[in-house]
Symmetry: C2
């Protein structure tokens, strides 16, 4: 399970961002697009194609579960919810992110000490 997190995955943190957003309740791709930027890991908006691919891959891995929702206005939505396994993976991600933050701050400190800036 811990092989699912951490590098070599890039530092956009799409997966934990999606899982985190789903902690607040079920949602669908198009809606998630507009919220996962809040965490500060994306420059602009996430490319739309990206999030759908992530969601489907995460469903294959059992981290989220989806069902179609044709209610409401507009076209049908594929609505996702986080699973117990998703919660575990998110927890592991948070641990990794904490360690990563510590490494980053250590690096920054080391640099400032050397350059006196």
């Amino acid at each position: 399970m811990p092989e699912k997190i951490g590098p070599g995955k890039p530092d956009r943190y799409m997966q934990p961002s999606i899982l985190m957003a789903l902690l607040d309740g079920r949602s669908h791709g198009y809606e998630l697009l507009q919220h996962i930027g809040e965490y500060g890991f994306l420059k602009g908006d996430a490319p739309p194609g990206m999030i759908y691919r992530h969601l489907r891959q995460m469903e294959e891995e059992g981290l989220v579960a989806s069902q179609w929702d044709a209610e409401g206005s507009g076209p049908a939505k594929r609505v996702y919810a986080i699973t117990d396994e998703g919660r575990e993976v998110l927890d592991a991600w948070v641990g990794y992110m904490e360690r990563q933050a510590a490494s980053l701050l250590g690096f920054v400190t080391r640099y400032r000490e050397r350059t006196g800036g």
Copy 2:
């Protein structure tokens, strides 16, 4: 110049690690291999092929400069030194890493508040 740093580059931070190590003085690939793990961004050792490719690409970009050193024991080494441009890029990296650490800690805090753990 700021396009050279940040995502989509992965979070192994090879480039800033190499530049940082070269702040302490000129060095060569094989030696750098054994030191850049100290910063905490690599699981085990960096794959040897990786570092040589990075060094040559960084030389193309003008961040480091090399010359052959046949002195001393063992085979000749290609010894690298950081350039002024390399120093600027490292400085930009450090700024990026500081912001990244802040985002990470923000994410972690948000998670802990939600889950109470």
